[in-house]
Amino acid sequence: MTEEKKSILKANNIYKTYQAENGEIEALKNVNFEIKQGEFVSIIGPSGCGKSTLLSIVAGLEEKNDGEIYIDGKIGYMLQKDNLLEWRTIYKNVLLGLEIQNALTEENKEYVIKLLKKYGLYEFKNKYPTQLSGGMRQRVALIRTLAIRPTILLLDEAFSALDYQTRLMVTDDIYKILKNEKITVLMVTHDISEAISMSDKVIVLSKRPATVKKIYDVNFEIESRTPLNCRESPKFSKYFNLMWKELEQYEKCTEK
């Protein structure tokens, strides 16, 4: 047996209520979960249930009303769009995070160059974002986040702006990079199959006010697992149906 892995992120009793002029909206209610080192965890739930809010709270971008977040290490955050700055070269884009955090040391620059070389972007380093394809741009955005050496990476629908074909390739690509760099990941997605294909654990949230309904362990027992070969496994459709039914229940409740 492997030794007990240490916990990287813990969310305890998270509550979040939005105040608006025409009333208040309860977004999150008593949300609890834990992520261990090296795990890839996804959060799925009915649309508008507050998945992205939860991620923003974990990242400290939004205030919570109650509860506690424990994080062991540094957070990296990747958004739906790559948000590359079109007036900067690829190299300058990748350095943005370090620049903001006043960490532009020679050592970090070398690390960035290493990452660019490792993931096939070095020869594009003086090009501008508009000269790159959607998949490559997403990879640049990932390296920009990895440059600050996060221990845990938050992915907020990070692939949903891409077309389906590109998306399959990019998820595969990015999954390999993340495993390679041994990064712990918390991903929010509305796509069940994407969640299953990438994750070790899938957290299912209920409709608003969202709370954790179920946590599925996903295990394909494939040796060198990738999102693409997971999709071919017979277990894939089993997991899919399970989660699909779970989510369908909530959708029905909403319709009533």
Partner: protein, 284 residues
Amino acid sequence: MKNAQKNKEIKSQENVEIKNKGMISKDRKKYLKKIKLRKLEIFITQISIVVIFIAIWEILARTGKIDSFITSQPSRILKTFLDLSSNDLLRHLKITCIETLVGFLLGTVMGIIIAIILWWSSFISKVSEPFLVILNALPKVALGPVIIIWVGAGMPAIIVMALAISLIVTILNVLNGLINTDKEKIKMAETFNANKLQILTKIVMPANISTLFNTLKVNIGLSLVGVISGEFLVSKGGIGYLIVYGGQVFKLDLVMTSVIILAIVAAVMYESIEILEKIVIKQK
């Protein structure tokens, strides 16, 4: 040195390849030719309009079909221009240009600073909104007498007039650009814990370079409007003064000449900003 030469050779080879590619496709060649021809056509037509206009003007004036005392005439404008240039045209030109540039720079710098303050604090922005809207709608020329009484009749009054006309528009244009910066890009910077100053300097300002230059282009025109209307009111020198003076003593030659000089000044100023824009964007 050898390396540089080699690079040149490689580059020229690339060029040859590109040219060769051009040779291969006849359609491409046709297309490029068509575009070139079209550009030439437009340019020739533009020049012809000017030449024909001047020619008709001159002919009508010479044959007495129009009264050149009221309309002036190209040959007399040219003569007035030559007279002026040997006299004190340069002095008037200098006065107007200095006033415009000072007004323009003040308006731009103050406008951008105020816009940044309003972007920074949504409270100040909300408070000042109705005042800005009213000030924007108010014809600033109406403030002329007030300005003269407050700062005295002279160059300062003219500069204040240029400032009054260009400042509010600058604030509103720049603020609008700053506020409409891509929210996602700002959030991206926030994920790296960027503070507000970093968001301003690394995301919002560079994202608005083209807004800034568009504002500059509008501004240089507005400053000129302010300066000329200021000169109409108070001055003892400048192109605006020449126009008013010419009108008062019924020297239409002088009025027309000054208007044409003014048009050239406006064009040169606009063009310099366009050139500056190209240089800045190229450097980025």
